[in-house]
């Protein structure tokens, strides 16, 4: 079913989502990928504050291409989420409510999703030009030196994603593939 939700994401909205739902997100989300995750993880290990609040927020695993003049952002599709698996459970425990990426997650991440009532969404990989059209504004807010891997605050409108792992631990990558397997 199609759902229209706002970000930051409330616990109630997160709980409504089922694996397989098509969801349009409007509001504020943040980007972070490999290098930013590594840095946030190190900050946590050293009791230093994170550059963004986790509670209720959605992180988009994405490093954009540069924006042409007059545009908020360049191409902006998801990167492979599993590379963030090492870091995601700590962030989920701090209240991170949504992650947008592509590809499978580890059991540890799934457990942390269920435990914290979060959601893992997939955006269509390799559709960066199309997805960029749902991003109205982009601003680097931390780790500027990381270039494309810096943390950005994005204002999005009807950003299209699909629920892959819901708060009950259902995983669309497993169920949908079985439905079309012909072996």
């Amino acid at each position: 079913m199609d759902q229209y939700i706002n970000a930051p994401l409330s616990k109630e909205d997160a709980a409504k989502m089922k694996a397989g739902d098509y969801v349009y997100i409007t509001g504020t989300i943040y980007t972070a990928r490999d290098a930013a995750h590594k840095r946030m993880y190190e900050a946590l290990q050293n009791d230093r504050p994170l550059p963004i609040e986790m509670e209720g927020n959605v992180i988009y695993y994405m490093g954009p291409s540069p924006a042409r003049e007059g545009r908020p952002i360049g191409s902006a599709g998801p990167t492979t989420a599993s590379r963030m698996d090492k870091y995601a459970p700590s962030l989920l425990d701090l209240g991170l409510r949504g992650m947008i990426g592509k590809g499978k997650r580890s059991e540890a991440v799934k457990d942390a999703i269920v435990k914290n009532g979060a959601v893992y969404f997939a955006a269509v990989g390799g559709a960066g030009a199309l997805l960029s059209k749902s991003i109205l504004k982009s601003e680097v807010i931390a780790y500027d030196d990381l270039g494309t891997e810096a943390i950005r605050r994005l204002e999005v409108k009807d950003f299209p994603v699909i629920v892959v792992i819901d708060k009950d631990g259902n995983d669309l990558y497993e169920t949908a593939v079985k439905a079309y397997r012909k072996e």
Binding site: R68, G125, G126, A127, L130, I162, L172, E183
Partner: protein, 280 residues
């Protein structure tokens, strides 16, 4: 002997980096269109439609098809009658990549050292493969390679006794393991034979063969067709979210090998299987 100025190489490579990241070749576009018509899963069909819309936006608004504009892989087929003038060829190629990525608003995804990981900020260096060929022309292929799919690629050093079934199993294993991570529908490039590095290079080069062209070797063509059908039965589907389109093509290249070995490399590419080819 024919003289080519290296500045001509730089200019062409710059343009080709930009072109490859905004426009797919006709064969790829056709394959995606066909897949959209044939896909059985409703969500899969919707995703394939979005990929076509994405291609239209990329071309019209000059936004890269994918934000991962790749590490530039360049095949140089250099005629032995050619003489380069005006500088060192390799420098000219790297300069073309630098200009293409900086002036073309492409993402800089290359780090200088694999462990220290400091971004070079201009996407150089490219990975360059040279081949000497007869004649006085230079054929350049620029193939930017994204790493979502590159990370799912594999080399298998099989035993001769594993035979054709072993090769098929290796390819299917790599594709199944790649699943949603490689942004399906994929193009599967395969190298069979040669040595450890030769099969990997063949697999990479196989990705630059048009997806509507089969191997000229009859048994290899049969294998390509059979494997494509098998892969599309896995259920992985567009975006890995279920469906009947998991791959658009399987391109296999072969080479003589050693009596003791059967190397197989599987280089997986996403649906943004980019390349630009020019002959100077």
């Amino acid at each position: 002997m024919r003289t080519i100025q290296v500045s001509e190489v730089t200019q062409n490579i710059k343009e080709m980096c930009i072109e490859a990241n905004h426009f797919l070749t006709k064969d790829m576009k056709n394959a995606l269109e066909d897949a959209c018509e044939k896909e059985e899963a409703p969500l899969g069909k919707q995703i394939l439609c979005q990929l076509q819309e994405n291609l239209n936006i990329a071309g019209e608004d000059m936004i890269p098809i994918c934000q991962d504009t790749g590490m530039a892989v360049i095949f140089m087929e250099v005629g032995q009658e050619v003489h380069f003038e005006g500088g060192f060829l390799e420098d000219a190629i790297q300069e073309g990549v630098r200009k293409g990525y900086v002036e073309g608003f492409l993402r800089k995804s290359v780090v200088k050292d694999p462990l220290i990981r400091e971004n070079t900020k201009d996407n150089t260096p490219a990975v360059i493969h040279y081949e000497m060929v007869p004649g006085d022309q230079v054929k350049i292929t620029v193939a930017p390679k994204g790493f979502g799919s590159e990370n799912m690629s594999r080399v298998f050093m099989l035993k001769p006794a594993d035979g054709i079934e072993g090769v098929k199993n290796a390819i299917l294993t790599a594709v199944k393991d790649a699943g949603p991570n490689a942004c399906p529908p994929m193009v599967v490039g395969v190298g069979v034979g040669g040595t450890f590095e030769k099969c990997a290079l063949m697999a990479k080069k196989a990705l630059t063969r048009p997806v509507d062209q089969h191997s000229s070797v009859p048994y290899v063509k049969e294998m390509e067709e059979e494997l494509l059908a098998e892969i599309n039965k896995t259920g992985i589907g567009p975006g890995g979210l279920g469906g009947t389109t998991t791959a658009l093509a399987v391109n296999i290249n072969t080479y003589p090998t050693h009596i003791a070995g059967l190397p197989v490399a599987v280089n997986i590419c996403c649906h943004v299987n980019r390349h630009s080819v020019r002959v100077l």
